[in-house]
Symmetry: C2
Subunit: 501 residues, 2 copies
């Protein structure tokens, strides 16, 4: 049996929330289910024996550490353990595993980098975690066509490192170094979505193993076409399906040209509303800004402490401008005037590439920074997204609700999309503390839904937001989703209990 | 009974191919099915009586003209007539009609502007055509959020007219003045897709009546959020489903800012390869070009004759640059150099707004221009899309195949997406002539599939490309599409025989 500790070790060192073995006292997580008490369709020893025949004995484990590591992501959701973990070497093995599991009604939970935020890796009814770490080949880069095909276990940072020197990059950048398969599954986005779109706009084709073991290519067997009107858009059905419809083994992605010039800046405001009003105005003036991120004072404080930045302790926008020299100059001038008009002060440049890289590295680490600042607390992180005109109101009401609730919470977000995150801290030894942040997060999501928005812009539903999905989409719409799920996975083996029950 | 002749009259005047009552001798269309011979689930007189109770007698017709007009789109596919046409006034009536039709196994075929190109309006097993002409309200424009909600019968030109003066526009522009519901159904695109995306990227939410009469909002009951990770992406499942999964009654669309400056130009080349090589280079240099359209010599000739343009009779690119003054200047300089390097000559500007509008109006009318140039012939129009690097080869081999086959055909396309159209002329009185163009179109599609592309970039599958869909996606993938279809429409009442059998 192999030892597969590298990622969990890396997480321990990074101080990320999932590095502690169990995040909440038993029965205190969100989206808890009957979990350990569920009847196993097949005993663990049988599973071990049967899967070893398919994947090889060295690729299957029921070691307690492995099980624990694969149960949890970076969220506070109940991390129910699978019975075994398999490390398949190729899609043929995944196909055989799924055929076996489908026949024997064994749950299958795909595992990428474990960086999800809604409990997608939890195995509430046991079964098999499929670790995609062997799927790390970049299969093809078509630099002329601005596309590439990668195996599902490749992370976005690895992909971008390998593209260096080719004048190309893949812009979707969630905070963690997520796997691209996982990013497809959760419809991830990040700081660049305001300009370059989310996974939905950047996936051209997916290779997927279905519940019955068949392997399909959602966009056509070989297609890399930019657009297609051939049949149903299965690619975007699987993007965001959180492992409930099939296991993604490879993805064909759009790439983009590295801009001639990339310039970053920081600007401060007297209040969050000043900052968000400026963002609304920037977008309404159609400035093609590449990134516009908001951090509140507490986030800035955590960020300065953790990442050794020296950002003024005020509501802050991090900005990035991409384009030609003349284009960037125009954008900067326009944005500067808008920020001034909205009370922006201390407009400062990242003076060189290192400063720029440091700034964005710090931004990507704010979850870890928040956790590190309050080491005895746990962090419930949740996101919402609304039309940009409603952003100032929602952000202000959320901040007021945080204060009124007596909760410590930071707010940070991809405000150019109308998308922001609240990181709400609670005492893991005090159930009432957790109940308070959960209620607070739910109120924020309900307000977002009322304001023509969604209960999640990029984290997904997972275990944590099933009730909110129903509220947002209505029963008829969710019943359509469920009908599709049952059609493609009639035995409900694929990541059961996620998105809906 | 109302008279609903305005659109068909307009089409007659425009000289578009569907203005002739029957396009092909009986049994000569593509995708023919048992059509008129099919057993009707419910007799026409019963249908008339029952639907009159739901929609009102004045909203139901079985008048021969109405039936004929609703059977056909702008394609040469067999136009099998429905038994009745209904003009529902609101979504509640559509819901009641679908409940009735679902219970009685009556086919339902939605009808927008009738401008489709793959036979989507044909009723091979009879049933009810639902004409969406009453759905013409622009329900809401949120100029601050760059979105709007429209009823399905609004056309893209009407929407853009109503947005004038607000600094906003909707960029998806198929040649014909299609309805936005129809454009959602076929996943339409057009000349602006290279910069602004297709319908897939520009639809935020859809109101859909399901086969059983339930009404859902695919993106959430009220959501207009820019991005969402809440549940399955049903919006993009319905976009491109060609009326086979539900009837779209309203759509929430992304709008874009009217650019500060829009400049158009024309440039000529010694060969199609020179033109397409230039396009490949423009894209590889990441010039954010707004439009780049190819016309071959014959198309130019037809266009000059029909639209009174005076474009030199050579392989031609029509270009458009959007942006700020400085941005446009930069783009123009870059593109000019690239065109020069690839043998481009006579780079000419549209000197004012009228010239620019005339140029693009002429481009949008090339199908009508082609038909008008050969008035005794019929035109089979088909499209394919490949990764941009394969475009020069595919375009060249297609032109060679047209010549070798002794067929008259024009080639025109949204080459910035790798997408082009062949308009192949045939003698409607000579079956072998039609067989020849059909075989030619199929060979072009098969070559596109071999070159990592798709058999249709924007027209859809409809009646005409079912075999090609199977070739492109493989049986397992198409079986997934069929399974979803049967789940949402178990009685196969929604636009039967389209996409697959």
């Amino acid at each position: 049996m192999l030892s597969h500790l590298s990622r969990s070790l890396a997480r321990s060192l990074s101080g990320c929330p999932s590095s502690s073995a169990r995040l909440l006292p038993q029965n205190q997580g969100l989206g808890r289910s009957s979990g350990a008490a569920a009847v196993r369709a097949v005993s663990t020893s049988e599973l071990f024996k049967d899967l070893s025949k398919i994947a090889g004995e060295r690729q299957v484990t029921s070691n307690a550490n492995d099980l624990r590591q694969h149960a949890k992501d970076e969220s506070i959701h109940d991390a129910a353990e699978p019975q075994v973990v398999v490390y398949p070497k190729n899609k043929k093995q995944i196909s055989e595993i799924l055929k076996y599991c489908n026949k024997n009604r064994v749950p299958v939970i795909p595992f990428g980098a474990g960086s999800g935020l809604e409990g997608g890796t939890s195995a509430p009814t046991g079964g098999v975690a499929i670790d995609m770490q062997a799927f790390k080949k970049i299969l093809r880069v078509n630099s002329e066509d601005f596309d590439c095909t990668v195996e599902a276990g490749v992370t976005w940072r690895t992909l971008n490192l390998s593209l260096r020197g080719q004048g190309l990059w893949f812009p979707v950048d969630p905070g963690a170094d997520a796997s691209l398969g996982g990013m497809c599954s959760t419809s991830a986005s990040g700081t660049n979505a305001v300009r370059y779109g989310t996974m939905r706009e950047n996936v051209l084709n997916l290779e997927v193993v279905l519940a019955d073991g068949r392997i399909i290519h959602t966009g056509g067997v070989n297609s890399r076409a930019r657009k297609s009107a051939a049949g149903y858009n299965l690619t975007n059905l699987f993007v965001g399906s959180e492992g409930t419809l099939g296991i993604i083994t490879a993805a064909t992605l759009r790439l983009h040209a590295v801009p001639e010039m990339q310039v970053s800046a920081v600007v401060h405001f007297g209040s969050p509303r000043g900052a968000t009003d400026a963002v609304v105005e920037i977008l309404q003036n159609a400035v093609p800004i590449a990134r516009v991120e908001f951090m509140d004072e507490l986030t800035v404080q955590a960020c300065n402490a953790y990442s050794k930045t020296s950002i003024s302790n005020k509501p802050t926008l991090l900005l990035e401008f991409n384009g030609s020299e003349a284009g960037v100059k125009e954008q900067v001038e326009a944005v500067r005037v808008i920020c001034d008009d909205n009370g922006g002060t201390e407009f400062k440049w990242a003076e060189n590439a290192e400063q720029r890289a440091h700034l964005w590295k710090a931004r990507h680490a704010v979850l870890y920074a928040t956790c590190a600042m309050w080491p005895n607390m746990k962090c419930y992180v949740t996101d919402v997204c609304v039309p940009i005109s409603h952003l100032p109101d929602l952000l202000e009401s959320t901040k007021a609700d945080i204060e009124k609730s007596g909760v410590v919470g930071t707010i940070v977000g991809h405000v150019g999309d109308g998308n922001f995150h609240a990181m709400l801290l609670f005492d893991p030894n005090d159930p009432s503390s957790f109940a308070k942040v959960k209620a607070l997060g739910d109120r924020m999501a309900l307000r977002a839904i009322e304001l023509d928005g969604t209960c999640t812009g990029e984290h997904g539903i997972g275990l944590g937001k099933k009730e909110l999905l129903l509220k947002e989409h209505g029963e008829d719409c969710v019943s359509v989703m469920k009908a599709i799920k049952l059609t493609l996975d009639p035995n409900n083996i694929l990541n059961p209990a996620k998105i809906f029950d």
